[in-house]
């Protein structure tokens, strides 16, 4: 009886010790992967996003220097958990994309005749959408939204949420049945200007590094399939 108790205690202690060790290793592997990707990006002089979903923070970096930080109010996810790694932003989409103004060349004489507008027609932060999405490779989508104050945008957001509450589970089922890659993350920014700032800064083709602690639950079946 005594031996059994000792053996049980040893086994329990070993299990308790091993679990965080595996978790730590996983985090270290992910961190290493991200650092390796970042080391490659910093050589290019291009800015990139570092999205830390666990800390609810998005950073804009360039050559390892943090230029701007935005806090994430909350995030939800459907589909396959987004693993830590480096992803290429393929497309940024918005319902209301900001439009650039085309300058019409005007001769000096005509200019003098026209009354001067005090507000120049230019593209500014306030023209950026507060709700948009980033498309990545492998069926990964990150949607951004921000709290709306006015009644009509709020109503639109509410209807959109209902639509997504139907569409996303269906898409999850469809992707699961077809074994297709599908990840949909919705990030809510703390302020509208934060979301607009992210849209302003993001450029198609730029790299996005995602760090996320995931509880990996690898089933025996999956292990067998992987080992075979």
């Amino acid at each position: 009886m005594g031996k059994r108790v000792i053996l049980g205690t040893i086994l329990a202690a070993a299990t308790l010790w091993a679990a965080p060790q595996t978790e730590d290793r996983r985090v270290l592997i992910d961190q290493g992967r991200l650092l390796e990707a970042e080391t490659a990006i910093v050589k290019t002089n291009q800015s990139y996003f570092f999205v830390d979903l666990s800390a609810r923070r998005i950073e804009l970096r360039i050559q390892g220097v943090v230029l701007k930080t935005w806090n994430v109010a909350e995030y939800t996810q459907w589909g396959r958990p987004l693993p830590s790694g480096s992803f290429k932003l393929v497309k940024k989409e918005a319902l209301r994309t900001p439009r650039r103004t085309n300058i019409t060349p005007v001769a000096d004489k005509e200019k003098q005749d026209k009354p001067k507008s005090s507000d120049p027609e230019v593209l500014e932060l306030k023209d950026m959408p507060g709700r948009f999405s980033f498309e990545f490779e492998n069926g990964i989508t990150i949607r951004f939204k921000s709290p709306a104050k006015k009644i009509f945008p709020r109503l639109g957001y509410f209807l959109g949420s209902i639509g997504r509450a139907i569409y996303l589970p269906l898409k999850t089922i469809w992707a699961a049945v077809r074994h297709a890659d599908f990840t949909d993350i919705q990030i809510t920014a703390q302020r509208e200007s934060d979301a607009q700032g992210i849209y302003w800064t993001a450029q198609e083709g730029m790299s996005v590094l995602v760090f996320r602690k995931i509880n990996y639950r690898v089933s025996l079946k999956a292990r067998r399939r992987f080992l075979s």
Partner: protein, 214 residues
Amino acid sequence: MKKKTFILAAAVVAGVFALLELGGLALEIFVYSKPKVEAVASGVREITAAELNRRNKSFRSRLSVYKPFGLYIVVDTAGNRLYLNKGGTVFREVVVSCGSGDVLDEPGGTRSWTFDTPRGGFAVQAKLVNPTWIKPDWAFIEEGERPPADYNSRIDNDSLGEYALGFGDGFFIHGTLYTRLLGRNVTHGCIRVGDQDLKFVFESVGIGTRIFIY
């Protein structure tokens, strides 16, 4: 009768909704919780946490080589701000004007210009006192004029202010006559700074000082 039908319809909708949510969630738990496991050849020794730590430390030190030491400039094109940084601490914030994002097409021609401030990592390449602007073609086309063949007609001694910092491809951090537009996105891609701030920025930085624009 109508009330019953309404309740029934509402119940059906709620049921379908709940089924979808539960179905999706169940699939997420049972199917997607299995991660894509990377292939590792059998018999290969697992890397220990200590080794991983060492590897990550080596990556961090490689990354730190690229980080600027000393003074550097950060420009926020959305907020129209320029920050002078030293060791990661901002010691001067300046209101500036950045690119308007407007587009100019050459009438009857094929050329087109987009007036954005370039983004990314740059360095101060030239420091100029009382700079002269050699007006490019778009400056004439925008005014409805034909670009002159004569070089002297392109010289403008007033527009750039007292100082200019060149950071490549014809882009400058320079002074402005339009101080009331500081804080707005109104330029053709250059970064306009007010006179007093410009003097301070100009005297603080040297050739090779890093500029990060976002």
